[in-house]
Symmetry: C2
Subunit: 187 residues, 2 copies
């Protein structure tokens, strides 16, 4: 009964280390979403709206299907918030030129404005954390989180995403966005 959980016990240290890793993620996410949530509440919206606005802003011209793939929710669930955002003119749809079934999503001016306000706090929070840590720490943050996300989404972070406003004028999917084979190969 000497010192089972102080030193000399790598199993315990590892367990403790892993648990801290879990909790850091919980607390960070909790605090990360708190501010935008309260801003949204004033506009009668919720976190779900934020996510949609964010990713549409991030990927202009994104299709509904791809957005669903990112959010991993059902289309019925998305439909509710997306419908509101379109009605309230934060987002607009444009018919795809190549595939006319697609509704390509874009932020309106109003949407861009709101997106900016919403993420301002989050960007500041990250910037502060980055600044307080070293460049190597930032790199470590990225590496570890990267290792935690499922493979399919990892490629999004390969290189700084180039503009993906392909607007479906060409069948070339945005780099790293659409992970599927290009359409139209006539066998």
């Amino acid at each position: 009964m000497v010192d089972i959980k102080t030193r000399a016990n790598p199993l315990f240290l590892r367990e403790e280390e892993l648990r801290q890793g879990i909790e850091l993620l919980f607390y960070a996410y909790r605090d990360f979403t708190a501010e935008p949530d309260s801003m949204l509440a004033r506009l009668d919206m919720g976190r779900a709206h934020h996510r949609v606005i964010y990713f549409v802003g991030r990927h202009p011209g994104i299709t509904v299907t791809e957005l669903l793939r990112i959010l991993k929710i059902t289309k019925q669930s998305l439909s509710r918030v997306l419908g509101q955002l379109i009605r309230d003119a934060y987002i607009e749809q444009r018919q795809g030129k190549v595939d006319r079934r697609q509704r390509l999503l874009h932020l309106t001016e109003k949407g861009v404005q709101l997106e900016h306000e919403l993420t301002a706090n989050q960007r500041a929070r990250i910037a502060k954390a980055y600044k307080a840590a070293s460049a190597e720490a930032v790199d470590g943050y990225r590496k570890v989180l990267m290792g935690m996300i499922d493979e399919e989404d990892r490629r999004r972070f390969a290189r700084p995403n180039r503009e993906e406003e392909a607007e479906a004028t060409s069948p070339t999917p945005a780099p790293g966005l659409l992970s599927r084979r290009p359409v139209m190969r006539r066998s």
Copy 2:
């Protein structure tokens, strides 16, 4: 129009860097919770139950008030899940010995069991990410997330939490758990 957003534009790089930081957190959290969620669903429970089980397991003898402070939800909301967990014998309450108003929360054997199953996947996921990265990367992960969480909860990660099963036999709060002044100073 040369190369506004490739090199030579630190503003853009910074923006891109911050956005990636935001998204990494979103994707990681999304994937991190997916598995336990689906396990819970089979037991007719949800993510809220997991959080309660997790933190009660992590802080045996925690009070309801302190648990609320961690989760940052209302007592009515907690009451629902906590009530279920007690009814289903995953958690038990013991009256505080010093302050007899307190209901100190503990996992039962069944609760410990479930907690272990639930976090197994999360621990594995973190372990995998840690292993894939370097020790310095892990340190960076911790540093950056630490910088993102609000000050009041940061102290929890000061040192590996020592056993805090004080069981309120002494008024000394568990180290790093209760961040308030000790009770009982008579003027």
